[in-house]
């Protein structure tokens, strides 16, 4: 029986049994209900205080997480730009004139600068040819089979991986050696 029902019952019972002895009984039931209500409210109040206390702790933790997440989100946007710089470098044409060489060197300095920004944000790149594929760190974008290389070895890094502390912000996309 919930409290509301109990209360209603007391309300209904009270006027019908107004005589002394029964009245006392009713009074006692009402008192008991009131006592239960007090207990319930006290428990609820304590719970509310505990919840608030826990909420404050949660908020402090969440604030730290949000900071890390914001950093991660910003980094994620920049990673895409860096990928394209890497991609551009792969397509560097041969036989460039001296002037274009110098211009390209300058452009690649911009890339280095961007990598510096990533490091300042606490991000570290990873992923290199020859390392063994690890699905916790790498994302297999494709496979080849080369006899002279170790099985599951990374043959090509399509895009570098980035981590922030222990957290993988973006896994390295790689082509692996998958011997049949």
């Amino acid at each position: 029986m919930n409290d509301e029902q109990k209360k209603q019952e007391v309300d209904q019972v009270a006027p019908a049994f107004a005589e002394a002895s029964v009245g006392r009984e009713v009074e006692e039931v009402a008192k008991e209900v009131r006592c239960q209500k007090c207990e319930e409210y006290l428990a609820g109040w304590k719970r509310a205080l505990a919840d608030y206390d826990n909420l404050q702790k949660d908020l402090a933790r969440e604030r730290a997480e949000i900071r890390a997440r914001v950093k991660q989100d910003v980094a994620h946007q920049l990673i895409g730009v860096l990928d394209n710089f890497d991609q551009a470098a792969k397509f560097q044409p041969e036989g460039l004139s001296k002037e274009l060489e110098v211009w390209l060197t300058g452009l690649m300095h911009v890339k280095t600068q961007l990598e510096g920004v990533m490091r300042d944000l606490g991000l570290e790149p990873y992923g290199a040819v020859g390392e063994t594929f690890d699905a916790h760190l790498h994302d297999a974008g494709g496979e080849k089979s080369e006899e002279d290389k170790a099985d599951q070895a990374i043959l090509e890094v399509v895009t570098r991986g980035w981590k922030l502390g222990d957290r993988i912000v973006r896994p390295a996309k790689v082509i692996i050696n998958n011997k049949q």
């Binding site: 319930e40 609820g44 509310a48 505990a50 919840d51 826990n54 909420l55 949660d58 394209n84 991609q87 551009a88 792969k90 397509f91 044409p93 594929f133 699905a135 916790h136 790498h138 994302d139 297999a140 974008g141 494709g142 496979e143 099985d151 599951q152 399509v158 957290r167 993988i168 896994p171 996309k173 692996i176 998958n178």
Partner: protein
């Protein structure tokens, strides 16, 4: 320090999805999604065994799928509780890259050298969720509520329960996904209502009609398309990109697996961006090359174009909706609430199509990727007893505050603040020797005091005579749990206090609240301008006042030239201060500030007199740092 002992262990709410799974718990009476170990809110429902014999669950399994397709299991939910000869199994046996074998009447899947039942595979996903939740919460999880599609039969439900048990979880309930979604919105309280749940996920589309009664939420009918989802929408965009690129460059990117992956990522990103933006750019430089050099993929995709591309897919979802209504014996007008589930329902065209069909707005306020898990957590909370006696806390429907100088409303308690709540702020006088202040209590969202509702007003008198800005009047707003607002004004100098009690500050009708909010939106621009004008004028008045006062008290400590310079600047500011030219006011105020600061600095170095010190500081300071001037009128004869 006290140590809290959790007597009641947490029950985990789990949405065990075909493509992704999600988990949530009840914390402080509210459902909350738990992130997995990798920090993601959803976990791919994928399992793999790599060459080293290591078992991978979730994201790592997904990352190696390309190179290990035979041993990477996904969409296991399509197989759970099925028999070998079921149509779904027959179909999957042909299309799945992994091997499905017969086991008794049912099925098993080969992974590595071993065979596993779908229950065992699902248990591996559940085990990961359990372990991640335990790590996150720092406590053991032993019980769970798992959701299943409404069309799951007994065998599928039992198999799902078995999966939970294999994972070491006592499955307290298996509940329907649409029911869970309705629970997340609290619609189980809407007795006598019919609810439509529209669930467009990554690979499947489900519709359900729910009937809410006193004790139960009954699924009246279900329908759907087991092979329609977000992946199909992505496919349409990918095809469009490939076609456009081929038309531009004559190269088929579909044949280059790495380029295709970049196109897939870009297509998904564009689709998501177009849920909020009208146009997006697909920019993938150096995507490929030919004899003429590198090629760049740069395309512009508008929302209108995307909607044209996916139009047929969206319209296709209406057929199952109509069929479900028919099976439930209901007309679409009988549906009171529509709940949207699945990431695809964020697409504006999907929302519009559903809204146009039903003639009412669907519910989208709960994250559609998480709504099922959140609903499972709500059910868990009911079982734990946490939600049963939740005290419903009220919120303030509109902001309350007072009128301050220039007819501006200064809010003390913002709209949507949970009550009971209280807040106080210090204000000051607007004129010298002002002995009374009027506290005009307002309610509403308009910046301009006159546009809001007057709740009451009172006069605080007996403030000791002092220059403007010196008296400190604390105004305290307190809304108790019954929504009764108590406003108290106290002069900190004399300790004199006045107060007013306003009944029913929260008891506005819905129409009234909506009207006031709408008016605030309609007048937002003009109100902002009026507020800025008032702020600039207040700033100008303060500057003029403090500069004149400083010059008066400076006496012969300044040269005639310096005095002339400051006075000229004061006159210049006076000339523009009542105009609407904010820039001119700001410029004149800045010039006066610079001139006055120069004088102030000189006075500092010439004299250490405390009075001069104080006045100079007053001028140099930005007026915003000073107490806010309340809208006070000089009460003559009081």
């Amino acid at each position: 320090m006290t140590h809290r002992i959790d007597i009641m262990p947490k029950i985990l709410g789990i949405d065990l999805g075909t493509t992704n799974s999600c988990m949530a718990i009840i914390q402080g009476g509210q459902p909350k999604v738990l992130e997995n170990k990798e920090g993601a809110r959803t976990t791919p429902s994928m399992i793999a065994v790599n060459k080293a014999g290591e078992r991978l669950v979730g994201l790592p399994a997904k990352r190696q799928a390309v190179t290990n397709p035979a041993n990477t299991l996904f969409s296991i939910k399509r197989l759970i509780g099925r028999r070998w000869n079921d149509a779904e199994v027959v179909r999957d046996r042909q299309v799945m890259p992994y091997q499905i074998v017969q086991k008794g009447d049912g099925v098993a899947i080969k992974m590595g050298e071993k065979e596993f039942t779908p229950e065992e595979i699902s248990a591996m996903i559940l085990q990961k969720l359990k372990a991640d939740a335990e790590e996150k919460l720092g406590e053991k999880i032993e019980e769970a509520i798992i959701t299943v599609p409404a069309y799951f039969d007994d065998a599928q439900r039992n198999a799902t329960k078995t999966a939970g048990e294999i994972a070491g979880l006592k499955v307290r309930r298996i509940i329907n996904e649409p029911t869970a979604a309705a629970l997340a919105y609290g619609f189980d309280k809407k007795v006598g209502q019919q609810i439509m749940v529209y669930d467009l996920g990554g690979g499947t589309f489900d519709v359900s009609v729910l009937d809410v009664s006193e004790d139960t939420v009954e699924v009246k009918s279900t329908n759907g398309d087991t092979h329609l989802g977000g992946d199909d929408f992505d496919r349409v965009v990918i095809d469009w990109i490939l076609k456009e690129f081929k038309a531009q460059e004559g190269i088929d990117l579909g044949k280059d697996s790495l380029a295709l992956q970049r196109v897939k990522d870009a297509a998904e990103r564009a689709k998501i961006e177009l849920s909020t933006a009208q146009q997006t750019e697909i920019n993938q430089p150096f995507i490929t090359s030919d004899a003429n050099g590198p090629k760049h993929l740069v395309l512009s995709l508008t929302r209108a174009k995307l909607e044209e591309l996916v139009h047929d897919l969206v319209v296709k979802t209406l057929e199952p909706v109509k069929a479900a209504l028919k099976d439930a014996g209901l007309d679409k007008s009988a549906i009171q609430e529509i709940v949207m589930v699945g990431g695809m329902t964020r697409m504006p065209l999907v929302l519009k199509t559903v809204e146009d069909f039903f003639g009412k707005k669907p519910n989208v306020s709960v994250n559609p990727d998480e709504v099922v898990a959140l609903g499972a957590a709500v059910q868990a909370g009911v079982l734990q007893g946490e939600v049963k006696d939740v005290l419903l806390l009220d919120v303030t429907p509109l902001s309350v505050g007072i009128e301050t100088l220039g007819g501006v409303m200064t809010r003390l308690i913002e709209r949507n603040t949970t009550i009971p709540a209280s807040k106080s702020q210090i204000f000051s006088t607007a004129a010298d020797s002002q002995t009374t202040v009027e506290i005009h209590v307002l309610q509403g969202e308009r910046e301009v005091a006159g546009g809001n509702k007057t709740l009451g007003r009172f006069i605080l008198s007996g403030i000791p005579m002092a220059p403007r800005g010196v008296p400190q009047v604390e105004v305290k707003f307190d809304i108790d749990a019954n929504g009764i607002l108590h406003v108290t004004g106290t002069d900190k100098g004399s300790g004199k206090s006045q107060s007013i009690t306003i009944q029913g500050s929260t008891g506005l009708s819905k129409d009234e609240i909506e009207r006031m909010k709408r008016e605030a939106e309609e007048h937002a621009d003009e109100d902002k301008k009026a507020k800025e004008r008032a702020e600039h004028q207040n700033l100008a008045d303060t500057m003029i006042y403090t500069s004149e006062k400083m010059m008066k008290e400076a006496g012969d400590k300044v040269t005639a030239q310096e005095r002339k310079s400051v006075e000229e600047k004061i006159e210049a500011l006076k000339a523009v201060k009542d105009s609407d030219d904010h820039e001119a006011i700001k410029k004149a105020a800045d010039e006066l500030s610079t001139a006055a600061q120069a004088v102030g600095a000189k006075m500092y170095s010439a004299s250490a007199k405390a009075t001069a010190d104080k006045q100079a500081q007053g001028v140099a300071q930005d007026a915003k740092d000073q107490p806010i001037d309340a809208e006070f009128e000089e009460k003559k004869g009081e």
